[in-house]
């Protein structure tokens, strides 16, 4: 690379640090989407026939659906027939353990700051990495295995634990749920699977790192987390993608099942490429995430820090079926330049004495649009349901927008539902106050924004919280002054 190019790349990567791509040989499906492609994917993955049938059924359903347009985002619809639905780094054979993974792949993840080496043990995090379409390696499998915990790629789970997959796949997010969920069901390539047996408290954070590398590729991963009765797990998800001019599609599905007295904590730091300053390129992030508190006294907690993507369409939700079950949603969504985010949650109270808590903090800068969309639904037999929602928006500059769409739907008169909302601007007064104490403007913005988002950031595991704070500051760099 010439020196000029190197400098250019350095400059660009300041805007989006993970905007590089790597060339290595890939196994790719032909471009386009039809039944043959689905068969191709299924064959490639050596899948059993029940899964192929499931995919084809989803494809039929999807064909009868239209892309939703109720969200508060505008974008050019993608031509799905021009997309490639499967791309995998070529490997001569499936790696058995970390030592057999292509060193070039490991180098990629090290560049991302994820060391796959067992050194991660020190930090107590087990990682499953998904590059483009396939899961590359899962660390700590053995350590976890001793406790009966299964943590592996989705494909592997299909082979090794078909009974679990058949039982839970599509249980929380049925293929008929929505356009993107149906699409995902038809073409999903890989993802992570996690099973925590009864009474086991997972001793380390489980983590998935997603990265889209190849051009014109959609990433359709599926994550399935099953926490059996009285178990506990904390799960982390991180995302990056290279910087490309054209938009890339990411349509994932995450399903969580929590048995009686089980607790699942799911944290996301989403840093997909947001597009450049002029709104060119970036990831379309159309994701369906949902958990069911199936057993009594179970708890599911979503925490998300959304800084990337050109368009985000995402509503991690909880179905509170078990009595006394608890659902939580903590979110910070930052948009800058031309980013658009329409994100929020659904809390569906079915069981008695169920509780939910929603804390949403939107930050809009540049010419971006940031919407909170949330639904609290209390069903007829959900006696004494409680909900508290807090929905704050912070605006920077005068060209951005913040919107709030709260829906409340109550069918039981004993419900107690509270909704609080605020909108504020980062004041010049606040910045001047910081300046006057010797704090530079960029640092003042970071300080104020992190203070604003603190309640959510506090929910993240320590290591993630630090990364998230840095990301917030980086995303908003140059948006004031």
């Amino acid at each position: 690379m010439s020196k000029d190019n190197q400098i250019l790349e350095d400059l660009n990567s300041k805007e989006y640090e993970h905007g590089w791509s790597v060339n290595f040989e890939t196994d790719e499906a032909p471009i386009g989407l039809n039944e043959d492609i689905i068969r191709w994917i299924s064959t490639k993955k050596e899948e059993p026939s029940w899964l192929l049938d499931w995919r084809l059924k989803a494809f039929k359903i999807w064909q009868g659906m239209t892309e939703p347009n109720w969200s508060n985002v505008n974008y050019l619809k993608m031509d799905l027939q021009a997309l490639r639905f499967y791309s995998a780094p070529k490997q001569s054979k499936k790696p058995k353990n970390i030592n057999e993974v292509d060193p070039e792949l490991i180098a990629i993840y090290e560049r991302l700051g994820i060391s796959l080496n067992e050194q991660k043990r020190l930090q107590g995090i087990a990682i499953d990495v998904v590059l483009d379409s396939v899961s590359v390696a899962t660390t700590f499998k053995e350590t976890l295995g001793k406790l009966g915990i299964i943590f592996c790629s989705f494909s592997e789970a299909v082979k090794e634990h078909p009974e679990l997959i058949q039982k839970y796949l599509g249980l929380v997010v049925p293929m008929t749920d929505n356009y993107y969920a149906a699409l995902n069901a038809a073409v999903f390539s890989d993802g992570s699977f996690c099973y925590i047996p009864k009474g086991v408290r997972c001793p380390m954070e489980l983590s998935t790192y997603f990265r889209i590398n190849a051009a014109n590729t959609g990433q359709f991963e599926r994550t399935l987390i099953v926490a059996d009765d009285s178990s506990y797990v904390s799960y982390l998800e991180g995302c990056t993608a290279p910087q490309r001019d054209e938009n890339q599609l990411h349509a994932a599905v995450v399903e969580i099942y929590a048995g009686a007295h089980a607790e699942v904590k799911y944290s996301t730091v989403q840093n997909w490429f947001p597009g450049d300053k002029d709104g060119k390129g970036g990831i379309y992030n159309f994701v369906t995430k949902r958990g069911i508190c199936a057993g009594d006294h179970s708890k599911i907690s979503w925490t998300q820090v959304e800084t990337g993507s050109a368009v985000t369409w995402k509503y991690p939700s909880c179905i509170l079926k078990g009595d006394y079950s608890i659902g939580e949603f903590y979110s910070v969504a930052v948009t800058n330049n031309f980013q658009q985010a329409d994100t929020g949650t659904k809390m569906i109270h079915i069981g008695k004495n169920t509780k939910s808590r929603i804390v949403s903090k939107g930050i809009s800068a540049g010419k971006s649009q940031n919407s909170y969309r949330g639904q609290v639904q209390v069903m007829k037999r959900a006696h004494n349901a409680r909900n508290f929602s807090q929905c704050d928006s912070l605006l920077m500059g005068n060209q951005c927008g913040a919107h709030t769409f709260p829906y409340i739907d109550i069918a039981n008169p004993s419900a107690k539902v509270e909704h609080e909302a605020t909108t504020s601007k980062i004041g010049e007064d606040q910045i001047f106050y910081c300046n006057q104490r010797g704090i530079a403007t960029e640092d003042a913005v970071a300080l104020i924004v992190n203070g604003y988002a603190k309640e959510v950031l506090n929910q993240l595991p320590m290591e993630f919280a630090v990364e998230a704070q840095k990301l917030l500051a980086l995303t908003l760099e140059g948006s004031v002054g």
Binding site: F432, Y433, G451
Partner: protein
């Protein structure tokens, strides 16, 4: 230390300061008094570098160097401190965290190592005693839900932590009851040395019973129209500002 020469400043085209001249030496306390709207707070803001004000004429030397071209943060780092009349709230940011960020940026600017948590905490403990401030207050969000007295005490606490060369107290007495006034003034007095200087901007003489000034200046219509010693403040307390206004306005019409 501070030398203000023929300073003119306006906001949105309206002139507020119309030729201020003032010399402040190390070890001195200067009181700036004057009726409402005379430009007292504007002077404080201009010295601190607030952007809304446009300096149209004149210069300010701080320790022999031009102050006005510097950004507000660089002025602060060089040792200019403004105790705000209305301290700003920053939700989710504790005073401790705020001050640690500030102090370390100031230290970095001066080529000093950042303070580690232990050293920072012991410095805090030392300065807390000075303004009788409770540690609990410092772990709460900065100024959020603070009483008027707590806010002002917090300003003086910050001043103690940052150890400025020139402190400007903008109406620090407003909204304080007599006990808080005593505590705040004690803090300011203990911070006084022969190396630093203080400018006290106030409407009332009351504060000057506690912080005794070496010089008193009366600001009116954007100019210093009378200077004297602390006796001038007492005279103002007794007679009000009208006689000065008359004196000035009649000279102006002649």
């Amino acid at each position: 230390m501070l030398s203000i020469k023929n300073l003119h400043a306006s906001i949105e085209g309206t002139p507020i300061l119309r030729g201020i001249n003032l010399e402040v030496k190390a070890g001195e306390v200067h009181a700036i008094m004057g009726p409402n709207g005379s430009g007292k707070s504007t002077l404080a803001s201009v010295l601190a570098g607030r952007e809304e004000y446009e300096v149209t004429e004149g210069e300010v030397l701080f320790q022999g160097k031009e102050l006005l071209p510097l950004s507000p943060e660089d002025r602060a780092r060089k040792g200019v401190f403004l105790a705000f009349q209305y301290p700003i709230e920053i939700p989710g940011v504790s005073t401790t965290n705020f001050l640690r960020t500030a102090l370390n940026q100031v230290r970095e600017y001066r080529g000093q190592e950042p303070l580690d948590a232990v050293k920072f905490l012991s410095l805090m403990k030392e300065k807390m005693a000075l303004v009788e401030i409770d540690q609990k207050l410092l772990s709460r969000s900065l100024n959020e839900g603070f009483s008027g007295g707590e806010k002002k005490r917090n300003e003086i606490f910050q001043m103690a932590m940052l150890n400025p060369i020139l402190s400007i107290l903008d109406e620090t007495d407003s909204g304080l009851d007599i006990d808080a006034l005593r505590i705040v003034s004690n803090g300011v007095n203990k911070l006084k040395s022969d190396k630093n200087a203080t400018i006290v901007v106030t409407h009332y003489q009351r504060l000057l019973d506690y912080i005794v000034p070496d010089f008193v200046h009366v600001l009116y219509k954007g100019r210093i129209v009378k200077s004297g010693t602390k006796e001038l403040a007492l005279e103002l307390e007794e007679k009000g500002y009208d006689w000065i206004k008359e004196e000035v306005d009649s000279t102006a019409t002649v």
